[in-house]
Protein backbone atom coordinates (compact mmCIF):
# COMPACT_ATOMS: atom_id res chain seq x y z
CA UNK A 1 0.00 0.00 0.00
CA UNK A 2 1.81 3.06 -1.19
CA UNK A 3 1.21 6.68 -0.30
CA UNK A 4 2.18 9.85 -2.07
CA UNK A 5 3.04 13.17 -0.56
CA UNK A 6 4.05 16.49 -2.00
CA UNK A 7 6.29 18.52 0.31
CA UNK A 8 8.75 21.36 0.33
CA UNK A 9 12.34 20.31 0.98
CA UNK A 10 15.87 21.58 1.09
CA UNK A 11 18.55 19.36 -0.43
CA UNK A 12 20.63 18.46 2.63
CA UNK A 13 23.31 16.05 1.49
CA UNK A 14 24.31 13.47 -1.08
CA UNK A 15 25.73 10.12 -0.15
CA UNK A 16 26.59 7.11 -2.30
CA UNK A 17 23.12 5.97 -3.22
CA UNK A 18 20.78 8.55 -1.78
CA UNK A 19 20.06 12.22 -1.60
CA UNK A 20 18.87 13.47 1.80
CA UNK A 21 15.99 15.90 1.61
CA UNK A 22 15.22 18.03 4.64
CA UNK A 23 11.58 18.83 5.31
CA UNK A 24 11.10 22.58 5.23
CA UNK A 25 7.60 23.04 6.56
CA UNK A 26 5.16 21.75 9.12
CA UNK A 27 5.52 20.61 12.68
CA UNK A 28 8.15 18.04 11.72
CA UNK A 29 10.34 20.38 9.69
CA UNK A 30 14.02 19.57 9.93
CA UNK A 31 13.58 15.83 9.51
CA UNK A 32 15.57 14.31 6.67
CA UNK A 33 14.54 11.63 4.21
CA UNK A 34 16.78 9.46 2.07
CA UNK A 35 15.63 9.30 -1.53
CA UNK A 36 17.35 6.76 -3.82
CA UNK A 37 19.19 8.36 -6.70
CA UNK A 38 18.51 5.52 -9.10
CA UNK A 39 14.79 4.99 -8.57
CA UNK A 40 12.78 7.77 -10.19
CA UNK A 41 13.72 11.33 -11.20
CA UNK A 42 17.31 10.16 -11.55
CA UNK A 43 18.47 13.02 -13.79
CA UNK A 44 16.68 15.69 -11.78
CA UNK A 45 17.99 14.39 -8.48
CA UNK A 46 21.55 14.20 -9.70
CA UNK A 47 21.36 17.75 -11.02
CA UNK A 48 20.39 19.16 -7.61
CA UNK A 49 22.82 21.08 -5.45
CA UNK A 50 23.14 20.95 -1.69
CA UNK A 51 21.11 23.72 -0.09
CA UNK A 52 18.77 24.01 -3.05
CA UNK A 53 15.07 24.41 -2.29
CA UNK A 54 12.62 22.14 -4.05
CA UNK A 55 9.10 20.80 -3.96
CA UNK A 56 9.06 17.05 -4.39
CA UNK A 57 6.32 14.49 -4.81
CA UNK A 58 7.39 11.28 -3.12
CA UNK A 59 5.88 7.83 -3.14
CA UNK A 60 6.35 5.30 -0.39
CA UNK A 61 8.09 2.07 -1.33
CA UNK A 62 6.76 -0.16 1.43
CA UNK A 63 3.72 -0.73 3.61
CA UNK A 64 5.17 1.00 6.64
CA UNK A 65 5.91 4.08 4.55
CA UNK A 66 9.48 4.13 5.83
CA UNK A 67 11.17 4.33 2.42
CA UNK A 68 10.35 6.87 -0.25
CA UNK A 69 11.15 7.33 -3.91
CA UNK A 70 10.87 10.37 -6.10
CA UNK A 71 7.93 10.85 -8.46
CA UNK A 72 8.34 14.49 -9.40
CA UNK A 73 10.58 17.41 -8.54
CA UNK A 74 10.13 21.12 -8.97
CA UNK A 75 12.92 23.54 -8.28
CA UNK A 76 12.03 26.65 -6.33
CA UNK A 77 12.59 28.93 -9.35
CA UNK A 78 10.31 26.85 -11.55
CA UNK A 79 7.68 26.75 -8.87
CA UNK A 80 7.67 30.49 -8.42
CA UNK A 81 6.86 30.89 -12.08
CA UNK A 82 3.76 28.75 -11.87
CA UNK A 83 0.36 29.43 -10.45
CA UNK A 84 -0.43 25.92 -9.24
CA UNK A 85 1.11 22.60 -8.51
CA UNK A 86 0.81 20.06 -11.30
CA UNK A 87 -2.00 17.58 -10.99
CA UNK A 88 -1.51 13.90 -10.29
CA UNK A 89 0.27 12.15 -13.10
Amino acid sequence: MSQRATKKFTVAEFDDEYVWLKLREGEKRGLQFAIPLDNGCQDELESLNEGEKITATLESMNERNTAWQCVEIQREEEENGRTAMPADD
Binding site: L23, K28, A34, T55, S60, N65, W68, D88
Partner: protein, 326 residues
Protein backbone atom coordinates in the same frame (compact mmCIF):
# COMPACT_ATOMS: atom_id res chain seq x y z
CA UNK B 1 39.35 5.15 36.29
CA UNK B 2 36.96 2.32 35.63
CA UNK B 3 38.03 -0.15 32.99
CA UNK B 4 34.99 -0.45 30.75
CA UNK B 5 36.02 -3.88 29.52
CA UNK B 6 36.30 -5.37 33.01
CA UNK B 7 33.26 -7.41 34.09
CA UNK B 8 31.06 -5.30 36.30
CA UNK B 9 29.57 -7.56 38.95
CA UNK B 10 27.03 -6.44 41.53
CA UNK B 11 27.11 -2.80 40.58
CA UNK B 12 24.23 -0.38 40.99
CA UNK B 13 22.64 -1.83 37.86
CA UNK B 14 22.59 -5.31 39.42
CA UNK B 15 21.34 -4.07 42.80
CA UNK B 16 18.49 -1.96 41.41
CA UNK B 17 17.55 -4.07 38.43
CA UNK B 18 18.13 -7.60 39.72
CA UNK B 19 18.63 -7.90 43.47
CA UNK B 20 15.78 -5.70 44.75
CA UNK B 21 13.05 -7.33 42.62
CA UNK B 22 14.53 -10.74 43.51
CA UNK B 23 14.50 -9.89 47.22
CA UNK B 24 10.89 -8.77 46.91
CA UNK B 25 9.94 -12.02 45.20
CA UNK B 26 11.80 -14.04 47.82
CA UNK B 27 10.06 -12.13 50.62
CA UNK B 28 6.72 -12.67 48.88
CA UNK B 29 7.37 -16.41 48.67
CA UNK B 30 8.59 -16.69 52.26
CA UNK B 31 5.48 -15.07 53.73
CA UNK B 32 3.39 -17.68 51.92
CA UNK B 33 4.82 -20.29 54.31
CA UNK B 34 2.75 -20.92 57.44
CA UNK B 35 5.91 -20.37 59.48
CA UNK B 36 8.39 -18.33 57.41
CA UNK B 37 12.00 -19.36 57.99
CA UNK B 38 13.90 -16.35 59.32
CA UNK B 39 17.66 -16.35 58.77
CA UNK B 40 19.79 -16.15 61.90
CA UNK B 41 23.33 -17.17 60.97
CA UNK B 42 25.60 -15.36 58.52
CA UNK B 43 25.63 -18.26 56.10
CA UNK B 44 21.82 -18.19 56.09
CA UNK B 45 21.83 -14.51 55.21
CA UNK B 46 24.38 -15.26 52.50
CA UNK B 47 22.19 -18.07 51.21
CA UNK B 48 19.17 -15.76 51.08
CA UNK B 49 21.26 -13.17 49.29
CA UNK B 50 22.21 -15.67 46.60
CA UNK B 51 18.64 -16.93 46.30
CA UNK B 52 17.33 -13.34 46.02
CA UNK B 53 19.90 -12.56 43.33
CA UNK B 54 18.99 -15.73 41.42
CA UNK B 55 15.27 -15.03 41.70
CA UNK B 56 15.97 -11.50 40.48
CA UNK B 57 17.60 -12.89 37.35
CA UNK B 58 14.63 -15.17 36.77
CA UNK B 59 12.22 -12.27 37.32
CA UNK B 60 14.25 -10.13 34.88
CA UNK B 61 14.30 -12.82 32.22
CA UNK B 62 10.59 -13.39 32.58
CA UNK B 63 9.62 -9.73 32.77
CA UNK B 64 11.80 -8.95 29.76
CA UNK B 65 9.61 -11.23 27.67
CA UNK B 66 6.38 -10.41 29.47
CA UNK B 67 6.66 -6.66 28.98
CA UNK B 68 7.12 -7.16 25.25
CA UNK B 69 9.07 -4.50 23.44
CA UNK B 70 6.46 -1.80 23.95
CA UNK B 71 7.66 -0.87 20.46
CA UNK B 72 8.81 2.58 21.58
CA UNK B 73 12.06 2.30 19.63
CA UNK B 74 10.34 0.74 16.63
CA UNK B 75 7.61 3.39 16.56
CA UNK B 76 10.17 6.17 16.95
CA UNK B 77 12.36 4.97 14.09
CA UNK B 78 9.29 4.47 11.92
CA UNK B 79 7.93 7.89 12.77
CA UNK B 80 11.13 9.60 11.69
CA UNK B 81 10.73 8.04 8.27
CA UNK B 82 6.96 7.95 7.67
CA UNK B 83 6.20 11.35 9.11
CA UNK B 84 5.35 12.54 5.60
CA UNK B 85 2.17 10.49 5.77
CA UNK B 86 1.20 11.50 9.31
CA UNK B 87 1.92 15.13 8.66
CA UNK B 88 -0.29 15.08 5.63
CA UNK B 89 -3.11 13.44 7.57
CA UNK B 90 -2.89 16.30 10.04
CA UNK B 91 -3.03 18.76 7.20
CA UNK B 92 -6.09 17.05 5.82
CA UNK B 93 -7.77 17.28 9.20
CA UNK B 94 -7.23 20.98 9.47
CA UNK B 95 -8.49 21.92 6.07
CA UNK B 96 -9.40 20.70 2.66
CA UNK B 97 -9.09 22.13 -0.76
CA UNK B 98 -5.60 23.45 -0.21
CA UNK B 99 -4.23 21.69 -3.23
CA UNK B 100 -1.98 23.89 -5.22
CA UNK B 101 -2.15 26.85 -2.92
CA UNK B 102 0.94 28.96 -2.96
CA UNK B 103 0.87 30.05 0.65
CA UNK B 104 3.00 27.34 2.07
CA UNK B 105 0.09 25.03 2.83
CA UNK B 106 0.29 23.30 -0.49
CA UNK B 107 1.10 19.86 0.85
CA UNK B 108 -1.16 17.13 -0.24
CA UNK B 109 -1.35 13.38 -0.15
CA UNK B 110 -2.70 11.18 -2.84
CA UNK B 111 -3.35 7.50 -2.95
CA UNK B 112 -1.78 5.59 -5.74
CA UNK B 113 -4.08 3.51 -8.00
CA UNK B 114 -3.01 0.38 -6.08
CA UNK B 115 -4.52 1.80 -2.92
CA UNK B 116 -7.86 2.38 -4.55
CA UNK B 117 -7.92 -1.29 -5.54
CA UNK B 118 -7.18 -2.27 -1.96
CA UNK B 119 -10.17 -0.36 -0.69
CA UNK B 120 -12.53 -2.34 -2.88
CA UNK B 121 -11.85 -5.53 -0.94
CA UNK B 122 -13.67 -4.10 2.15
CA UNK B 123 -16.23 -5.75 4.41
CA UNK B 124 -14.61 -8.93 5.66
CA UNK B 125 -12.17 -7.18 7.97
CA UNK B 126 -14.80 -5.20 9.87
CA UNK B 127 -14.25 -7.05 13.17
CA UNK B 128 -10.49 -6.71 13.13
CA UNK B 129 -10.94 -3.09 12.02
CA UNK B 130 -13.16 -2.45 15.05
CA UNK B 131 -10.60 -4.01 17.39
CA UNK B 132 -7.86 -1.99 15.79
CA UNK B 133 -9.85 1.23 16.10
CA UNK B 134 -10.48 0.49 19.78
CA UNK B 135 -6.83 -0.25 20.53
CA UNK B 136 -5.76 2.82 18.56
CA UNK B 137 -8.22 5.15 20.27
CA UNK B 138 -6.97 7.24 23.19
CA UNK B 139 -8.93 5.48 25.93
CA UNK B 140 -8.85 2.06 24.30
CA UNK B 141 -5.07 2.26 24.13
CA UNK B 142 -4.83 3.28 27.79
CA UNK B 143 -7.28 0.65 29.01
CA UNK B 144 -5.36 -2.08 27.22
CA UNK B 145 -1.92 -0.83 28.19
CA UNK B 146 -2.37 0.37 31.76
CA UNK B 147 -5.32 -1.58 33.18
CA UNK B 148 -5.61 -4.87 31.32
CA UNK B 149 -2.02 -5.68 30.47
CA UNK B 150 -0.53 -5.38 33.98
CA UNK B 151 -2.91 -8.14 35.09
CA UNK B 152 -2.78 -10.50 32.13
CA UNK B 153 0.55 -9.57 30.56
CA UNK B 154 2.65 -12.22 32.33
CA UNK B 155 0.36 -14.86 30.78
CA UNK B 156 -0.60 -13.47 27.37
CA UNK B 157 2.78 -12.06 26.30
CA UNK B 158 3.29 -15.02 23.95
CA UNK B 159 0.29 -13.95 21.86
CA UNK B 160 0.04 -10.22 22.39
CA UNK B 161 2.64 -7.55 22.96
CA UNK B 162 1.58 -4.14 24.24
CA UNK B 163 2.33 -1.14 22.12
CA UNK B 164 3.27 2.33 23.30
CA UNK B 165 3.80 5.48 21.25
CA UNK B 166 7.04 6.87 19.94
CA UNK B 167 9.19 9.39 21.80
CA UNK B 168 8.26 12.97 21.06
CA UNK B 169 11.72 14.26 20.16
CA UNK B 170 12.14 13.06 16.57
CA UNK B 171 14.93 15.32 15.36
CA UNK B 172 17.69 13.46 17.22
CA UNK B 173 16.17 10.12 16.22
CA UNK B 174 16.14 11.24 12.60
CA UNK B 175 19.80 12.26 12.67
CA UNK B 176 20.70 9.02 14.45
CA UNK B 177 18.91 7.10 11.72
CA UNK B 178 20.81 9.07 9.07
CA UNK B 179 24.11 8.31 10.78
CA UNK B 180 23.26 4.60 11.09
CA UNK B 181 22.32 4.38 7.43
CA UNK B 182 25.48 6.09 6.29
CA UNK B 183 27.80 4.32 8.74
CA UNK B 184 26.53 0.80 8.20
CA UNK B 185 25.24 1.22 4.63
CA UNK B 186 21.71 0.19 5.64
CA UNK B 187 18.77 -0.06 3.31
CA UNK B 188 16.40 2.86 3.89
CA UNK B 189 13.45 0.52 4.35
CA UNK B 190 15.16 -1.62 7.01
CA UNK B 191 12.72 -2.94 9.61
CA UNK B 192 15.09 -5.01 11.78
CA UNK B 193 14.61 -2.74 14.78
CA UNK B 194 16.33 -5.06 17.21
CA UNK B 195 19.48 -4.86 15.09
CA UNK B 196 19.25 -1.07 14.96
CA UNK B 197 18.84 -0.81 18.72
CA UNK B 198 21.77 -3.14 19.28
CA UNK B 199 23.94 -1.05 16.96
CA UNK B 200 23.08 2.04 18.99
CA UNK B 201 23.62 0.27 22.32
CA UNK B 202 26.99 -1.08 21.24
CA UNK B 203 28.13 2.34 20.09
CA UNK B 204 26.94 3.99 23.29
CA UNK B 205 28.66 1.38 25.45
CA UNK B 206 31.93 3.18 25.06
CA UNK B 207 33.99 4.90 27.74
CA UNK B 208 34.04 8.08 25.68
CA UNK B 209 30.26 8.24 25.47
CA UNK B 210 27.71 9.46 27.98
CA UNK B 211 25.62 6.56 29.24
CA UNK B 212 22.73 8.20 30.98
CA UNK B 213 20.38 5.82 29.16
CA UNK B 214 21.80 2.86 31.10
CA UNK B 215 20.71 4.39 34.39
CA UNK B 216 17.17 4.65 33.10
CA UNK B 217 17.43 1.13 31.74
CA UNK B 218 18.32 -0.07 35.26
CA UNK B 219 15.38 1.82 36.74
CA UNK B 220 13.07 0.36 34.09
CA UNK B 221 14.41 -3.10 34.88
CA UNK B 222 13.74 -2.50 38.57
CA UNK B 223 10.12 -1.59 37.91
CA UNK B 224 9.44 -4.42 35.51
CA UNK B 225 11.07 -6.86 37.95
CA UNK B 226 8.85 -5.51 40.73
CA UNK B 227 5.84 -5.85 38.44
CA UNK B 228 6.47 -9.53 37.75
CA UNK B 229 7.42 -10.25 41.39
CA UNK B 230 4.26 -8.61 42.70
CA UNK B 231 2.26 -10.41 40.03
CA UNK B 232 3.52 -13.85 41.08
CA UNK B 233 2.85 -13.23 44.78
CA UNK B 234 -0.57 -11.85 43.86
CA UNK B 235 -1.21 -14.99 41.80
CA UNK B 236 -0.27 -17.25 44.74
CA UNK B 237 -2.69 -15.38 47.00
CA UNK B 238 -5.43 -15.57 44.37
CA UNK B 239 -4.75 -19.29 43.95
CA UNK B 240 -4.98 -19.80 47.70
CA UNK B 241 -8.28 -17.95 47.95
CA UNK B 242 -9.73 -19.81 44.96
CA UNK B 243 -8.78 -23.02 46.76
CA UNK B 244 -11.60 -22.35 49.25
CA UNK B 245 -14.10 -23.10 46.51
CA UNK B 246 -12.57 -26.44 45.55
CA UNK B 247 -14.22 -29.58 47.02
CA UNK B 248 -12.54 -31.48 49.87
CA UNK B 249 -11.59 -28.18 51.49
CA UNK B 250 -9.31 -27.42 48.65
CA UNK B 251 -7.09 -30.42 49.20
CA UNK B 252 -4.64 -31.03 47.71
CA UNK B 253 -4.72 -27.60 46.19
CA UNK B 254 -4.55 -25.60 49.40
CA UNK B 255 -2.32 -28.21 50.95
CA UNK B 256 0.43 -27.10 48.60
CA UNK B 257 0.93 -24.16 50.91
CA UNK B 258 1.77 -26.58 53.73
CA UNK B 259 4.58 -28.00 51.63
CA UNK B 260 3.89 -31.67 52.26
CA UNK B 261 1.63 -31.51 55.26
CA UNK B 262 -1.70 -33.32 54.92
CA UNK B 263 -3.38 -30.60 56.92
CA UNK B 264 -4.65 -27.46 55.35
CA UNK B 265 -2.77 -24.49 56.61
CA UNK B 266 -2.72 -20.80 55.86
CA UNK B 267 0.14 -18.67 54.62
CA UNK B 268 1.68 -16.46 57.27
CA UNK B 269 0.63 -13.30 55.47
CA UNK B 270 -3.01 -14.40 55.24
CA UNK B 271 -3.06 -15.20 58.96
CA UNK B 272 -1.43 -11.90 59.85
CA UNK B 273 -3.27 -9.39 57.69
CA UNK B 274 -6.74 -9.11 56.13
CA UNK B 275 -6.75 -10.58 52.63
CA UNK B 276 -8.29 -7.42 51.20
CA UNK B 277 -5.37 -5.35 52.50
CA UNK B 278 -2.79 -7.74 51.02
CA UNK B 279 -4.69 -7.88 47.78
CA UNK B 280 -4.97 -4.11 47.50
CA UNK B 281 -1.33 -3.59 48.35
CA UNK B 282 -0.14 -6.11 45.77
CA UNK B 283 -2.43 -4.67 43.11
CA UNK B 284 -1.13 -1.18 43.88
CA UNK B 285 2.49 -2.34 43.54
CA UNK B 286 1.61 -4.24 40.40
CA UNK B 287 -0.13 -1.35 38.62
CA UNK B 288 2.31 1.33 39.73
CA UNK B 289 5.32 -0.80 38.78
CA UNK B 290 3.89 -1.48 35.34
CA UNK B 291 3.02 2.18 34.81
CA UNK B 292 6.58 3.16 35.72
CA UNK B 293 7.97 0.39 33.51
CA UNK B 294 6.20 1.91 30.52
CA UNK B 295 7.28 5.41 31.51
CA UNK B 296 10.94 4.50 31.98
CA UNK B 297 11.01 2.46 28.78
CA UNK B 298 10.24 5.69 26.96
CA UNK B 299 12.80 7.62 28.96
CA UNK B 300 15.39 4.90 28.30
CA UNK B 301 14.80 4.94 24.54
CA UNK B 302 14.85 8.74 24.49
CA UNK B 303 18.19 8.87 26.26
CA UNK B 304 19.59 5.96 24.27
CA UNK B 305 18.98 7.97 21.12
CA UNK B 306 20.33 11.13 22.73
CA UNK B 307 23.43 9.31 24.00
CA UNK B 308 24.14 8.04 20.51
CA UNK B 309 23.53 11.50 19.05
CA UNK B 310 25.96 13.08 21.51
CA UNK B 311 28.48 10.30 20.91
CA UNK B 312 28.56 10.93 17.16
CA UNK B 313 28.68 14.69 17.74
CA UNK B 314 31.66 14.22 20.05
CA UNK B 315 33.25 11.99 17.45
CA UNK B 316 32.80 14.68 14.81
CA UNK B 317 34.23 17.41 17.02
CA UNK B 318 36.94 15.19 18.47
CA UNK B 319 35.70 15.73 22.04
CA UNK B 320 35.82 13.02 24.66
CA UNK B 321 32.72 12.60 26.80
CA UNK B 322 32.63 12.11 30.53
CA UNK B 323 30.86 8.77 30.40
CA UNK B 324 31.17 5.69 32.55
CA UNK B 325 34.88 5.58 32.29
CA UNK B 326 35.78 9.15 31.57
Amino acid sequence: MVNPRAPRVFNLYDIIGVFLPGATLLFGILVLFPDPPVPSAIWEYLFYLIVAFSLGHIAQAYSSSAMGELKVFENTMDETRNVLVDDDEDDNDTGEGDEGSGDGEGNNKEESPDDQDDEDTGGEDDDSGLRERFSNSYWGHRILLFILYPLIGPVVWLWWSPNDDEVEELLHANLVWKNLRQTYDLDVGIDRYEDLQQMISSRVDDPRSPVRSYRFQAIRNFHRGMWVSAWFVWLFIVAYEIGAFIPLDGWPYRGLFCFGSVEICSPFIIESYPTVVIFSLLLAVLFVSWRLTVYYERVFIRYLITDYFVAIQNQDTGEVGSGNGG
